[in-house]
Symmetry: D2
């Protein structure tokens, strides 16, 4: 079954979705939101494409590799932005994004 092949990737995506959504929420509550604007934007782009791919893999999408390629790219962009910021939520999010980008590339 497709979703069993991809079980590890689904879990990695799920963790990335969690980290991005948490970082988005925390960025909106930071003292200096201006500085976090790009992070807020990319957190949601990344959470949404990861959540999309996660569900697509769960239902055996025929487009796994194409979706994973674009997902990897968005994860990397989000990770690059997040790692610029010292907040713990940003650092954790960067880590989750880079891990997810690597996992996506394996099937891309």
């Amino acid at each position: 079954m497709a979703h069993e092949q991809h079980q590890q990737l689904i879990q990695t995506l799920h963790e990335c979705v969690g980290a991005c959504n948490h970082c988005y929420d925390a960025c909106l509550k930071e003292e200096d939101v201006n500085m976090m604007a790009e992070c807020i934007r990319l957190d949601r782009e990344c959470a949404d494409i990861c959540a999309f791919l996660e569900q697509a893999l769960m239902r055996g999408t025929p487009f796994a590799s194409d979706l994973a390629a674009v997902c990897a790219k968005i994860c990397e962009a989000c990770g690059n932005e997040c790692q610029k910021h010292d907040h713990e939520h940003c650092q954790k999010c960067a880590e989750a994004c880079f891990k997810c980008a690597e996992a996506c590339k394996e099937i891309a």
Copy 2:
């Protein structure tokens, strides 16, 4: 067909999704993003539930009225926040949200 019954509501939802996404994008580019944090948050909550309901109606969901009730509530909350801000994108978004809330209530 369900989606024909709801054609006007689908259009109203679509316009609200557009206004909320545009307002979200514009808020992230404002000089004072701090002041827009709640608007950014609610714009995305609203865009996402409206887009969800829009697609659900298009495919004849059996849960139209339940989804419309929660959608109306989120539209109202977003409209209330947006109308506090003088930016044109906020004022237009508030208008789209209130119009959409009314349309949702008709089937809720």
Copy 3:
């Protein structure tokens, strides 16, 4: 943090999303797809609203209880349909849906 309060519910929703997407995929591959049409439809309605609520909770949505109420209703409808079918994927999906409906009701 909102997403920590809801950690257990997020996990339950995640399992329900997985079970529904798997059941949807498996139903489309059954010998008699006609018999599974309602199951296919409800699996996707249920997966989508659960995935929506999951992400909304992760980012501290102010609408948790309203979304959880509609999610509980859709989970129940999906569980009721799935439990009519003897396929293992349907039985497992029904179980995940009922568990998720209960968890949603606790915050609704």
Copy 4:
């Protein structure tokens, strides 16, 4: 503004989302659902990625061309499946999918 540049594409995507969701709904109500299984699956894959891209464009996503490339591929696959079936909803859906694939390729 990004969303104004893409206004025509957003409209084309919106029509494709509508055609795919309607075709999905109608396929599930056909007499011979077995024959429509692949169409049902691809209709939802296509509706979901088009709806995703539509919203992403509305909020000025930095990933427009990558998302459009994968969207074009999924639209084509859905159009190819739909055009095999004589049902009016399938023929109309195929048309909307091919039109949308072309529009996506222009920015991919």
